[in-house]
Symmetry: D2
Subunit: 143 residues, 4 copies
């Protein structure tokens, strides 16, 4: 599985815990960084998180290997599939030096109107932008 | 599904984000609070997190309704099933006033020896303590 | 120096860092908890943080002794002095069992109108409520 | 006051709070990033935070202007003065586009032996490295 989108992570010492490695809850701030940057990059413009019109509805996370403060890591993001009202982003935390995958996450994102609190379709702009961006990947499935 | 173990959460303003509600990553610090307290409570003694000999291997999380700083919430934890080398804890964040469930998480915990980094069986003490604690629940399955 | 207001802190494992104790940045989330609860308690009603009309302008913090995840700690808060546009809150993180003070903070809070972004006087309601609350303390000085 | 050392900050959405801007407690994770990188850069080698032999003893922080998630910011660090057992680092959070200073912090760092928990002198290596690094600054005072 290849990822076109890679964002280096600036680890903070406060990300670690008394077990000596990065705390599990910190991974979700990394995945969040990756998702936000992915959306902006595929759209080709800055979109404030408040105005994206999508929210995280479901996350499946595998914690594979501990990550240390002195590691050099990135978060990678790719579209797995897209439907009318949702799409799935695959993400992983990868060691820049060794290539080892520390953590993976499958994220189901849903369209959402903050004004009404109701579900909305994924916008055509975002759908087309993500599909174009991932065009060189064979794995994108239409929902 | 009933939960015998409930821990009130002390929400912090830093748990919120610019969308106005509790940030997704904060939920995992709540689930972590619940797991740690659950293990200590079923064992009937304080166990430092470093000495528990178990780690989180897999988490499936559903984000159902936003939680606000002014909400009064608890994290609930119960054993779902147990095998030789792993067990599954179900957790949810629940509103103390309305009973609404804001977020659920299925956690697969595995035995782990920090000295060797290798997988280990779940200790008999913990297995028996959890099974006894949940004895009044019909849903505990032997793995 | 006596504190009338004491709030027990629910420590989280994510508050610790790889040095084995609570990370410095976590203290500020504890001080924030204490300040918010102090204001609500002296006013005798819940006030959303967004509507308090005060912001932290200056903080002087002394890190005295490391705090551990297994410690049982509280944040204590008291008014030190009050002027027209600002007041000073003294705070400390104290060990509930030993009484040891782990960290102290002097906080200068200023009146602030979020709509205009301009400085405002401290409201009479808050001024009187804090002064009454601290009346049994000899150290409150008029600014 | 000029700063030779500037580190761009990777802001996270979880750094914000329900007031819409970066939470005060997040600033301390930025200052921590700056201090750690400053020490490594002046020494010219990677030093794990656990092995630096210095701890933060006192911090004076001024919160000047709110910082937003969409801002592009850096943390700047410089040596202010150095004594036998302590030194003072000045830091500020600065907007990369406008040059506006959002927050400043004066940090008193002390030599510390984690094995004994006792105060120690600042090592000659670190003292000379910092003094050399700041040599083009007129403001470094010997303590």
């Amino acid at each position: 599985m290849t990822f076109r989108h890679t964002l280096p992570i600036q680890l903070r010492f406060s990300d670690t815990d008394a077990l000596g490695h990065v705390n599990n809850s910190s991974y979700f701030t990394f995945f969040d960084l990756g998702k936000t940057r992915y959306i902006c990059d595929v759209l080709g413009r800055q979109v404030p998180a408040q105005d994206m019109g999508i929210v995280l509805r479901h996350a499946e996370t595998d914690f594979l290997h501990p990550l240390f403060y002195t590691d050099d890591a990135s978060v990678q993001t790719r579209l797995e599939c897209i439907g009318n009202h949702s799409f799935t982003l695959m993400q992983q935390i990868v060691n820049n030096r060794t290539g080892q995958v520390h953590c993976t996450c499958r994220n189901v994102m849903v369209g959402f109107d903050p004004a009404t609190g109701l579900s909305t379709p994924i916008s055509d702009e975002l759908r087309q932008a993500m599909t174009r961006y991932e065009a060189d990947s064979d794995d994108v499935q239409k929902g």
